[in-house]
């Protein structure tokens, strides 16, 4: 794509916005007696901290062009680690900061002309452990008959207007703010009430691929 004069102008505009938005979106978790104990409640602490330090301007910023179809294209099944859609070093070089310098903070990448998705788990630094580059090969070794399941439907509330349940597991996705707010968020799942910080006050998990349970008395 050949950038026209107009695009460059708006790019500069965006960059200015990004510098502003990007400030402060870094995880600061105070040290505790035992590192283990940080993990309780699915690492819920990160959510409170993230809410406190993320500027309002970021939380409520409009979305870029990520959408759900592109989101699921990078995943083998809902919940699998996404593949890396852009050039990246092939081998693990030990410089994990290469990923986190962008994906811990979000903001705008002039290189890819996109808003950067924020990782929900910036404390995990060995990115290549789970995320591999998406590379188109000419011919596969053997074809595979893999079939995925449908991703969870959006906006499934128990009653009209009630807060939708969380349709996915919270493991490694405990920080709602990362994926559901900011300009790097997927447009369909970006929330319109980012000023609220205590997400699980209203939204509780109900994973749709798990059987729905019904209470019945024992006697």
């Amino acid at each position: 794509m050949k950038p026209s004069e107009k695009t460059i102008g708006s790019l500069g505009y965006l960059l200015a916005a990004v510098c502003f938005l990007g400030i402060g979106i870094v995880q600061i978790i105070p040290a505790r007696a035992s590192a283990d104990l940080l993990l309780y409640d699915l690492g819920g602490e990160s959510l409170y901290k993230q809410y406190d330090i993320t500027p309002d301007s970021y939380l409520s910023a409009g979305s870029g062009d990520r959408n759900l179809n592109g989101f699921y294209d990078l995943r083998q099944y809902p919940g699998s680690p996404p593949r890396i859609p852009h050039p990246a070093e092939d081998s693990f070089s030990g410089k994990t900061q290469n990923c986190l310098s962008c994906h811990a903070r979000g903001g705008y990448s002039p290189e890819y002309q996109k808003f950067i998705p924020v990782t929900p788990h910036p404390d995990k630094e060995l990115c290549y452990q789970c995320h591999v580059p998406l590379k188109e090969v000419k011919r596969r070794f053997q074809e595979n008959n893999w079939e995925s399941i449908n991703p969870p439907r959006l906006g499934r509330s128990a009653l009209g207007g009630s807060p939708p349940m969380i349709p996915h597991s919270l493991q490694l996705r405990e920080n709602c703010i990362a994926c559901h707010t900011g300009p790097g968020a997927v447009v369909e799942i970006r929330i319109g009430h980012a000023a609220r910080g205590n997400c699980r006050q209203c939204h509780v998990p109900m994973v749709q691929t798990e059987p729905v349970r019904v209470f019945s008395r024992t006697r």
Partner: protein
């Protein structure tokens, strides 16, 4: 925006198809669609207070036809400003559980059989009469609830205390709020908080005392978080016995050993005095010093009696009393580092910072519950941080009308709608308003809740009517009280909406109308009275608890006291009840005002609500010309009490080597009889569990989800382990939510209580664990 545009297009697409279908098949209906998209269209919205915790959120209930179909937060309600928690948003689903009780049942030949409700009410009235004739007036009792509406509690008190002349009236708020009441009464001489939720928008420091607000009062906690984010000069200190969501959200989490909050509170006062952070102007003008009895016992034995004896102290005597509570000494008792105690003292002592303390069950369910309430007031009084916007001690409540129905109407054995039974003037006032002959009300209080169920076990009480509560899950040391209720010659009437372990012990079950199926009023934590009208019809023969009592009262011959018609009884009852509270200290808003607004705070004087009591700028009951006026006590001062640290009734030892703590989770409310039947809430937390520290779990050899047997001297329960789950107790402590009737943790707990408030301590007893 892309999302809105696509949603709109899909909506337009579906609508066009419906229009097409409608023209081909007249009368075709797509109700399922309406359910999905219910927030618009043929829905009317009616205001009500939320039916769950004591926060008192305003909700708007969406009604389609005669069914409630949706909920949204009421933007006009200053409590929650349009936000709810997950329970509130799904609250209307609790009306439609499949096993809803819709008909009356009575026990015949050991089996429950359905009867018309009129017949069941005949049986209840006849049984009350028969029991009184045979065993005396104090052999019948009513046990209600902080979920009773104000009219429910009022007619119960009028019938039992007034007409029948027995003080056997108690409510489950004894198990949740009575230490708060005795705390207020001993420190201020008048009940209920001086501040209001607006304090949250002004305070710089929030200290939560044994209070997991993030889960238990989430809407208020969100307001704190939003303030911290917006104002930046806001700090949250979580002072607790286990790590919770509130600890995660706080700026500093400080853990103390169970029961040692008493010592830490005194150490904070010690530090405030040592550093001369005392607000002398305030203390000299508005505070007096006192002490009471010590070594006051735990109420474990039947017919336990205790009366405190107040003695005045000088400031120097009080200061000398605190010598035992240096931060260094208290570190040894409490496990709280001296520097953390000094840090908290410095926050309270900083003259610039506005400090609000919050607490709920951690301080109230405590064998020294009254004392710890006094001690936190002491801190605020020493530094004069009270009754001003942003500064104050704030006692939160756990039930929607613990304040409105139990504390204000006085549905406890010693109380009346105004004052207490022991006071001749208060009795005369009630007899006059109730149109009863002088001397109808007995001047002697009878049984507080634990003792009431002990009396049922002993046979002193033969008839008990239980409304809107589930004691066969919630009473401590449950086995004794369940067996007591099942004894021969005990007659148990239960009014409820779902079958529970309490209806399992009933001789008569009355189907109750729930929440918005009847008109009612609640009173929340911040002195706010909230009215709602009947919004949907009750199912089957279900009847409001108020009307059940009125029907029985009339059958007992008290038509004169209960003359109202079924269409207007709530308004009439409210106006009659309001007469008890006339005057600037407690005036309640008229019925017409309450109907219009999303809650009104009392004292409501000359059309104005009172947000901060004891402060003449806001409170019309204060004498003019003072900066503060603590008019509750005879000396017009607030009282600081010297209250020592005393150990818990039962502490871990070699054999029973763990503390057991019990409580709640955000998704479920109390015994789960409602929230377990709400699919979203049940799926989020489908079973209770025992939280164990990872190292203790490793010692025990259990992993997450494996069954653990919890054994105390009273009983045992076997349930799944939760390791690094919702919360983490420190080593040597376990925590169990009590919502699940399939794992009755109260089989294990101890029925020790605060001798002053008679509120049991559900937070501390000794247990041992076995891998099951």
């Amino acid at each position: 925006m892309n999302l809105d545009r696509r949603s709109f297009l899909k909506c337009a697409a579906a609508c066009s198809a419906m229009a097409a279908a409608g023209s081909i098949f007249p009368g075709i209906s797509f109700a399922d669609w309406k359910k999905q998209e219910g927030a618009s269209g043929m829905i009317t919205w009616k205001k009500a207070p939320c039916r769950f915790c004591g926060t008192g959120c305003g909700v708007l209930v969406g009604v389609s036809g005669d069914r409630a179909v949706a909920v949204k937060g009421d933007p006009n309600c200053s409590v929650n400003k349009g936000l709810c928690c997950v329970k509130g948003y799904h609250s209307v689903q609790a009306l439609y559980g499949a096993d809803r009780i819709t008909t009356a049942k009575v026990k015949r030949d050991g089996k429950m059989v359905e009867v018309p409700i009129k017949e069941a009410l005949d049986i209840v009235a006849a049984k009350i009469k028969e029991t009184i004739d045979k065993h005396g007036k104090n052999s019948v009792a009513i046990y209600g609830s902080g979920q009773w509406t104000i009219p429910d509690g009022y007619v119960a008190s009028k019938l039992f205390k007034g007409c029948l002349g027995t003080n056997n009236v108690e409510a489950n708020a004894r198990l949740c709020m009575s230490s708060a009441v005795t705390g207020f009464m001993t420190s201020f001489g008048i009940d209920e908080p001086m501040g209001c939720y607006e304090d949250i928008d002004h305070a710089n420091v929030f200290i939560t005392w044994g209070n997991n607000m993030a889960e238990m009062h989430p809407v208020l906690f969100s307001r704190i978080l939003a303030n911290r984010k917006r104002r930046k000069d806001v700090e949250i200190i979580d002072f607790a016995t286990r790590s919770t969501r509130s600890s995660q959200a706080s700026d500093k989490s400080i853990l103390f050993k169970p029961q040692t909050d008493l010592a830490v509170a005194n150490a904070i006062c010690h530090e405030i005095i040592r550093n001369n952070w005392v607000n002398w102007d305030f203390v000299n003008k508005h505070v007096s010093f006192h002490k009471g009895k010590t070594n006051i016992g735990y109420g474990l034995e039947d017919k336990f009696q205790f009366a405190d004896q107040e003695e005045p102290l000088t400031f120097d005597q009080y200061k000398a009393f605190l010598d035992d509570y240096t931060p260094e000494k208290v570190e040894k008792i409490s496990g709280v580092p001296a520097r953390d105690i000094k840090y908290m003292a410095a926050l309270y002592g900083d003259p610039i910072k506005k400090v609000t303390s919050f607490w709920c069950m951690g301080m109230n369910q405590h064998t020294r519950g009254t004392w710890i309430n006094n001690l936190v007031y002491n801190i605020h009084l020493l530094v004069g941080k009270i009754s001003t916007p942003g500064s104050g001690p704030f006692s939160l409540t756990g039930q929607p009308s613990a304040c409105g129905t139990v504390r204000e109407v006085g549905t406890l054995t010693h109380a009346l709608p105004h004052g207490g039974v022991a006071n001749a003037e208060d009795r005369a006032m009630a007899e006059k308003i109730w149109d009863l002959p002088a001397g109808s009300i007995d001047p002697k209080p009878t049984y507080h809740t634990v003792e009431m169920f002990r009396a049922l076990d002993r046979g002193d009480i033969r008839f008990i009517w239980i409304q809107v509560t589930n004691p066969m899950v919630t009473l401590p040391k449950l086995k004794r009280y369940r067996e007591g209720a099942l004894k021969e010659d005990r007659f148990v009437v239960v009014s409820d909406v779902y079958p529970t372990p309490t209806t399992d012990v009933a001789d008569v079950i009355l189907p109750a109308a729930m929440w918005i199926e009847k008109e009612g009023l609640f009173g929340n934590s911040e002195r706010r009275t909230q009215h709602w009208e009947q919004i949907v019809p009750p199912p089957g023969e279900a009847m409001s608890d108020t009307w059940q009592i009125i029907e029985v009262a009339r059958r007992l011959g008290f038509e004169k006291q209960f003359p109202w018609s079924e269409t207007e009884y709530i308004g009439k009852i409210w106006e009659e009840y309001r007469r008890f509270h006339e005057g600037p200290k407690h005036n309640m808003a008229p019925y017409t005002v309450l109907k219009e607004r999303s809650g009104v705070q009392w004292p409501f004087v000359n059309g104005k609500e009172t947000r901060w009591r004891f402060n003449p700028v806001y409170d019309p009951a204060c004498d003019k010309g003072r900066d503060f006026h603590f008019y509750g006590q005879k000396d017009n001062r607030a009282w600081i009490w010297a209250r020592p640290y005393e150990p818990a009734a039962e502490s871990p030892d070699k054999e029973y080597n763990f503390w057991l703590n019990t409580g709640r989770v955000i998704e479920h409310w109390h015994t789960g009889s409602m929230t377990m039947r709400v699919p979203v809430l049940y799926n989020a937390v489908p079973s209770s569990y025992v939280e164990i520290h990872p190292d203790d779990a490793a010692d025990l050899g259990v992993v997450n989800g494996e069954m653990v047997k919890i054994i105390s001297r009273r009983g045992s329960v076997t349930m799944p382990a939760s390791i690094l789950g919702r919360g983490v107790p420190p080593r040597g402590q376990v925590f169990v939510p009590f919502f699940d009737e399939r794992y009755l943790i109260n089989e294990v707990t101890l029925d020790a209580f605060c001798p002053i408030s008679k509120q049991p301590d559900y937070k501390k007893c000794a247990v041992k664990l076995e891998k099951a």
